[in-house]
């Protein structure tokens, strides 16, 4: 399958495909980071996670509409405001969900799965009623439309660079928040031993709510990034949810570094295979490989050794 391409063609194909994979990786990673917090740290299976991503995407869409209609002078910068708003909106809805539903189900993980599936159905219908069933796309400011030309055959899109950069900072932020800050220490304490954490004076309910909100908020940011690479429809989130769960499970649920590594390997494998095979076969092969590895190593690639 490599015949018929010259060496320089192959190099630029490789560079461009791996950059396309890098954008996919960014969205995967942002989705997976949110899920790694919610599923990996809290043990909650949130099937509505994809809908939180779409919530962020619609927030970005609304932002772009508002800015282009009423504040066109600032249109160039709207994306950064949209990212912050997406985080706040998705995080707030997430905290509401935790307060209204999830906190009753911490001891019944399988039931959480069904209940949050119900939430995802309702959110999808809500999106459909408000924004219509058709896909919507955001308008990009001019400066985000172009691409950097490395040489005459290799082009790197600007919006891709922004998405990758955003992912980098969010990942760094979460890493610092969870592993270096006092709050993150409390979160980890609650997740490892809830009653003991409560006994030393940590407000476990509040920590739960904030952690769930943080996970959902990061999904909202993933949605904002998602608008850069695809158009938003009410059911778009559902197509990503299984992939994301696999990313988190594959990396080892307890480990943030594992999540990053598995999101990277899955998205890169997929986007490079996609060039040579059809898209669906690439997806099938990657998913089957991941499932196969998970069957051999259920604890994931990088797992913390915890006594249960």
């Amino acid at each position: 399958m490599l015949w018929g391409y010259s060496f320089s063609d192959l190099t630029s194909i490789f560079v461009m495909q791996s950059f396309a994979g890098l954008i996919l990786f960014s969205v995967f990673l942002l989705m997976a980071l949110g899920l790694a917090i919610v599923f990996g740290q809290m043990g909650v299976i949130n099937m509505a996670h994809g809908e939180f991503m779409i919530l962020g995407a619609y927030t970005t869409y609304v932002c772009s509409q508002v800015f282009s209609r009423w504040i066109p002078t600032l249109f160039g910068a709207y994306f950064f405001i949209a990212v912050i708003l997406a985080f706040i909106v998705a995080g707030a809805v997430g905290m509401l969900l935790e307060w209204g539903l999830i906190r009753f189900l911490y001891r019944r993980p399988l039931d959480t799965l069904l209940a949050t599936w119900g939430v995802s159905l309702m959110l999808q219908q809500l999106f459909r009623s408000v924004f219509g069933a058709r896909e919507v796309g955001v308008q990009l400011p001019d400066w985000m439309m172009g691409s950097f030309n490395l040489n005459e055959t290799t082009q790197i899109p600007v919006n891709g660079v922004i998405v990758v950069g955003l992912t980098f900072f969010i990942t760094l932020g979460i890493y610092a928040l969870l592993l270096k800050s006092r709050w993150g220490c409390q979160v980890r304490a609650v997740m490892q031993n809830r009653s003991m954490a409560g006994a030393v004076g940590i407000n476990t309910e509040w920590i739960d709510r904030l952690t769930f909100g943080l996970g959902c908020g990061v999904a909202g940011v993933a949605g904002a990034a998602f608008t850069m690479i695809g158009s938003t429809s009410p059911t778009a989130g559902q197509q990503y949810i299984v992939d994301t769960f696999l990313v988190v499970a594959f990396g080892g649920t307890q480990s943030l570094g594992g999540t990053i590594a598995s999101a990277f390997s899955i998205s890169q494998a997929r986007s490079i295979l996609e060039f040579f095979l059809s898209g669906s076969m690439a997806q099938v092969i990657v998913l089957l490989t991941v499932i196969g590895i998970l069957m051999l190593r259920p604890q994931g690639l990088f797992s913390m050794k915890v006594r249960r």
Binding site: L113, A115, G118, M122, V242, V284, I291, P298
Partner: protein
């Protein structure tokens, strides 16, 4: 007649269901509605499988659509080959192969289609293919003690892989449209009203037979081990039972039942498509079971009928409300009614029924010595 009250109640309720499905519904519904009920009942095969797998053994599979779909596709492949005789397809560039293959420039029947010329093989495959896949998945997962939420997610991933594969390989599978335009079963036209009525009865009888089989399994020692395994897996393991094999059995049984349901679905509806394979139908089937009651066979069947009936009547009149209602149903059942409708019955009606049944059947009881 020295049956316990519980057995007597079981027999009476089972007869009521049989009567309802075999006499009341065919008598009271027009053929179109009856065919719809027949379609719902094919899902009931999946839900009674889930009662064993999820309710008894505690294994939540979110991939029952895989097995439903595989059973349905096995049946559909046989029917499609019957509909694609050389005379019927003489306008194609390669006569004698299914039309969608011809559209996709495939010139010879693929090897895995060939055995489906035979009816006995297809009927066995309807159960054997899903069961074999379930046994394989179960063997790989349960042996490594993968269970609970992990198992649910992996079955879901497999369901999504299968959907992508079916849609992607449209030359071999019919793609997103599925296998359509099915006509005859061994020369018998399945599209007529009369055939649909016959198929309805076949479906009901098979469902009742499956229920009896599951009832037998659940009331045997095997059923008790499954229960014990759900509640205290390690104790069962340390008592010397091989937990893995029991789990594989429960999962495989549910898969085989789902396969039968899928095959009947294909016969009654007249086509099979990937929309019945993926994640959404799989989770829908779990909710039918949850609404009816995951620990009750009769509850699961009534739950399936009720949710589907509500879905059809709501989505005819106000489709927007229905999706909200379905979402609320998921949340409501999980939060407030984990045992489903059958737990309502158990809590409020059962004691009266027990007295009633005891009074009605008192004369059959031998005098106490």
């Amino acid at each position: 007649m020295s049956l316990s009250i519980q057995k007597r109640k079981d027999i009476i309720f089972f007869s009521i269901l049989a009567c309802f499905l075999l006499v009341v519904l065919p008598g009271g519904l027009e053929p179109f509605r009856l065919n719809l009920v027949g379609k719902y009942l094919t899902y009931a095969f999946v839900t009674i499988g889930l009662v064993v797998c999820w309710g008894d053994a505690g294994i939540l599979s979110l991939g029952q659509g895989i097995f439903f779909g595989l059973g349905g596709y096995c049946m559909a492949m046989f029917l499609k080959l019957q509909a694609s005789t050389v005379e019927a397809t003489k306008n194609q560039s390669t006569p004698g192969i299914p039309d969608f293959m011809d559209w996709n420039q495939i010139t010879a029947l693929p090897w895995f289609w060939k055995p489906f010329h035979s009816l006995p093989f297809s009927l066995i495959a309807v159960m054997a293919v899903p069961a074999a896949l379930a046994a394989l998945i179960g063997f790989a997962m349960f042996r490594r003690q993968v269970g609970g939420t992990y198992f649910a997610i992996i079955t879901q991933a497999i369901a999504s892989v299968l959907t992508i594969l079916i849609i992607g390989q449209q030359g071999y599978t019919g793609g997103v449209n599925g296998i359509t335009d099915l006509r005859t079963l061994d020369g018998w036209d399945i599209r007529t009203d009369h055939a649909k009525l016959v198929l309805y009865y076949i479906g009901v009888v098979l469902l009742l037979a499956c229920m009896l089989f599951v009832w037998f399994v659940r009331s045997s020692k095997l059923g008790r081990i499954l229960h014990a395994m759900r509640d205290q897996e390690n104790r069962v393991r340390f008592s010397g039972y091989n937990v893995v094999n029991f789990k594989i059995f429960a999962f495989t049984l549910s898969a085989a039942m789902a396969g039968i349901g899928g095959a009947l679905f294909t016969l009654e509806v007249g086509f099979m498509s990937p929309t019945f394979v993926g994640i959404v139908p799989s989770i829908d089937m779990v909710i039918y079971c949850a609404v009816g009651g995951r620990n009750s066979l009769l509850g699961a069947v009534y739950g399936t009928l009720l949710v589907n009936w509500a879905r059809t009547s709501f989505s005819e009149s106000m489709p927007e409300i229905w999706t909200f209602a379905m979402g609320a149903l998921f949340i409501g059942v999980v939060l407030f009614l984990p045992g489903g409708l059958s737990s309502l019955y158990q809590n409020y009606l059962d004691r009266y029924m027990t007295r009633l049944v005891a009074a009605l059947t008192a004369r059959f009881k031998p005098a106490r010595v």
